[in-house]
Amino acid sequence: MARYILRRIVYMVITLFIIASVTFFLMKMLPGSPLKAEDKLTEEQKQLVLESYGLNDPVPVQYVRYLGNLLKGDLGISYNFDNTPVSDILIDRLGPSMQLGLYAVLVGTFFGIILGLIAAIFHNGFWDYTSTIIAVLGTSIPSFVFAGLLQYIFAVELGWFPVALWGEPKHMILPIIALAIGPMATAARFVRTEMIEVKGSNYIITAKAKGLSNLERVWKHGFRNALIPLVTVMGPMMINLMTGSMVIEKIFAIPGIGEQFVTSVVVNDYPTIMGTTLIYAFGFILILLVIDLLYGLIDPRIRVTGGGK
C-alpha cells in the first residue's frame, strides 16, 4: 500500500511538472504583454517595466526562475492588480470556491443517494420513473441553465434571494442548488443501478429467507454494498463540478477561483491565468489520487498493490 501511494505521488509530481512547463511555454507563445496600449510610455520606461517583470531575460532563464519560484509557492506577480502576488489573490479566492464545491458535493450526493434508494425500492413504480426522469434531466441540462432558471424564478421574479451577491449563508443557497443538481443526478442514477443489481444477489435472498423486512434488507444489506462503487464515480463527478463551478461563480458573482480565471482571461493577466490553471490542475490530480486511495481503503475486496494498475 505504502509503495502504491508513493508511486502515485511520484506520478502526480511528474504530471504537475508537465502541466507547469506546458502552461509556461504556451503563455510565452501568446501575444500581448503587461504593457497596455493606452499607457503612454517612452521606450526606456517600457524597458524598465519589462525589466521589473523579468521579461527581458532569455526564455530558458525565465523558465528556470519560474519553476524555482513555483517550488516556493510563488506564482509571480499579477499584471493587472498593482503588483499583487498571484498567490495572494488566489488564496483569498480559494475559500469561496472550496466552500461552494464542498457543500454542492455533500448536498448533491446526499439527495442523490436518497433519490436512488427510492427508485430502487419502488423498482418500476411511479417513484422509480419520477426519479429516473429527474436523473436524466440533471445529467443532461448544463448547470448554468439551471443557474439561470433558479436566478430568474427565485431572485428576479420572487425576490427571495439576491440575484448575485456573496457573503451571507443565504447567498450561497442558489449557487449550491445549481451546482448540486449534477452530482445529485449522477449519484441517483448510480445508486439505483447498483441497488437493483444487489437486490438480486444471493445474500439478499438469504436475508429475505431469514424473514427480514424489505426496509431492513435494503438498509442493512443492500445499501452498504451499493455505496462502495459510488466512490468510483466521485472522481468524474468532482471534475464536472469544478467545470461547473467556473460558470456558476461567473453567474452569481462569487469571488472564487473560477471567476478570477474568467476575469483574467479578459484582461490578459498571464501570471494569474497560469496560477489559476496550476491550481485547477493540482486540485484535479489531488482529488483523483484521494479517491483512488479511498476506494482501496473502503472496499477490502480490492487489494491495491504495486502492480495493480
Partner: protein, 384 residues
C-alpha cells in the same frame, strides 16, 4: 384364451410407426442478426425514438431555420434593439408571451408613483403603456403595485413587423441567430465526435492489435495525456488559438480521443485471440484488413454508443467555452454565446435567455436519452 390371443395378434393390426419430426432442437424464433436485434430493441424504445425525431427536427431547423424569415444573422438595427417576441397569430394569446409586449410589475408608495416608475422604465411612451392596478396602496413605501404593459411594436410604429423570438441588444433577429447558433454548436459537436472516433479507433486498434512494445509505448502516451485534466488543456488551447469553430474542435479533440482509444484497445485485446482472427491470419489476410474487416465491425456497437455520448458532452463544452468568453467570437453566434448574452439581459428581457437555454437543454436531453437507448440496443441482455 385371451392370454393366448395376445401372442397371436393378427398381422393387420400392426401399422408402421410414422416417425414424428424431432422438434426439441428446432429454433422457434426467427433468426435475426445482432444488428437486426439491436434495431428492434431501439425501435421499441419510445423515449429514444422521440428523442431521435426531436433531434432530426432540430437538425433540419438549424439548416432551414435562418432562411424562414427575412432577417440575416448579423443585420444590426439599433432602433429595433431588444424587441420582445411577436408571432403572427399567436400574438392574440397574451399568456403565451408572443404578443410583442414588455411587461413588469412595479411598486411605489402610491399608484401614481408606481406609474411614474413604469413610464421611466419604458422610455416615457405614456400612450403605449397599459397600467393595471394590482393594489392601491396606503401611502407606505412599496405598498401600491401595478402591472405595466408596454406595447413596444406600436410605440415604434412597427405594427407590421414580427420578430418571432425578439431581437438582441443590437437589434439582430433572435430566431435567425438561434438556429445559426444551433448549427454552429451541432457542427462542432459532430466534427469533434467524428474526429474522436477516427483517431481513437485507429490508435486503440493499432495499440491493442500489435500489443507488446508498441502497445506499451502507446499506452504510456495516453496515460500521460489523460493524467492532465482535460478542462485545463481545453482552456489553455482556447487561449492560444484564435477563437472560432476550428479552435474549439481542436481543443475538444486533443483531450477527447483518449477515451475512445482506451475502449477500442480493451475490446481489441479481448477479440484478437479468438478463432476467427486466427483463421483470417492463416488465410494470409493483412493486419490492416483484419483490423478493418474483422475486429472493428465486432466492436462497432461500443464505438457507436461511445460516440453518441461524446456528442452531448461536446455540445456542453462548446456552450461552456462560449459562455465564459473563450469560444465562438462575435458576430457569430452559438448556443453558448446566446445564453451568455441572455444572462446579461435576464432581468428585463428574459426571452433572450429562455429560448437558447431551452433549446440547449432539449438537445442535451435528447442526445442522452438516445445514447441510453442505443446502449440498451447494443446490449445482448436487453434483446427480447
Amino acid at each position: 384364451m385371451d392370454q393366448k390371443n395376445v401372442n397371436n395378434l393378427p398381422k393387420e393390426l400392426f401399422k408402421p410407426l410414422v416417425r414424428k419430426e424431432d422438434t426439441s432442437e428446432k429454433i422457434s424464433r426467427p433468426s435475426r442478426t445482432f444488428g437486426q436485434n439491436a434495431r428492434r430493441t431501439l425501435f421499441k424504445n419510445i423515449p429514444a425514438m422521440i428523442s431521435l425525431v426531436v433531434l432530426i427536427l432540430i437538425i433540419i431547423m438549424s439548416i432551414i431555420g435562418p432562411f424562414m424569415n427575412k432577417y440575416g444573422s448579423n443585420d444590426q438595427n439599433l432602433d429595433h434593439a431588444k424587441m420582445p417576441p411577436r408571432v403572427p397569430g399567436l400574438e392574440k394569446v397574451s399568456w403565451l408571451g408572443f404578443d410583442g409586449t414588455l411587461s413588469d410589475e412595479l411598486t411605489g408608495a402610491t399608484v401614481e408613483q408606481a406609474t411614474q416608475k413604469a413610464y421611466m422604465r419604458f422610455n416615457n411612451e405614456e400612450d403605449y403603456i397599459d397600467i393595471k392596478v394590482i393594489s392601491d396602496g396606503d401611502g407606505s413605501p412599496n405598498s401600491a403595485e401595478i402591472k405595466a404593459t408596454y406595447h413596444i411594436y406600436k410605440a415604434k410604429g412597427l405594427e407590421d413587423t414580427y420578430y418571432w423570438l425578439g431581437t438582441d441588444q443590437l437589434g439582430r433577429d433572435q430566431w435567425t441567430r438561434l438556429w445559426e447558433g444551433t448549427r454552429v454548436s451541432l457542427i462542432i459537436a459532430f466534427v469533434a465526435a467524428l474526429l474522436d472516433l477516427v483517431i481513437g479507433v485507429a490508435y486503440g486498434g493499432i495499440s491493442g492489435y500489435y500489443g507488446g512494445r508498441v502497445d506499451n509505448v502507446m499506452q504510456r502516451i495516453i496515460e500521460i495525456l489523460s493524467g492532465i485534466p482535460s478542462l485545463v488543456v481545453i482552456l489553455l488551447m482556447m487561449l492560444i488559438l484564435k477563437p472560432g469553430m476550428t479552435s474549439i474542435i481542436i481543443a475538444l479533440v486533443i483531450t477527447g480521443w483518449t477515451g475512445m482509444a482506451r475502449i477500442v484497445r480493451g475490446e481489441v485485446l479481448k477479440l484478437k485471440s479468438q478463432e476467427f482472427v486466427l483463421a483470417a491470419k492463416t488465410l494470409g489476410t493483412s493486419d490492416g484488413k483484419i483490423i478493418r474487416k474483422h475486429l472493428i465491425p465486432n466492436i462497432s456497437g461500443i464505438i457507436i454508443v461511445n460516440t453518441m455520448f461524446t456528442i452531448p458532452s461536446a455540445v456542453f463544452f462548446e456552450a461552456f467555452l462560449s459562455f465564459i468568453g473563450l469560444g465562438i467570437a462575435p458576430p457569430k453566434a452559438s448556443l453558448g454565446s446566446l445564453i451568455d448574452i441572455g444572462f446579461d439581459n435576464m432581468q428585463i428581457y428574459p426571452y433572450m435567455l429562455v429560448f437558447p437555454a431551452a433549446l440547449l437543454s432539449i438537445i442535451m436531453i435528447a442526445f442522452n436519452i438516445l445514447g441510453d437507448g442505443l446502449r440498451d440496443a447494443f446490449d445482448p441482455k436487453m434483446h427480447k
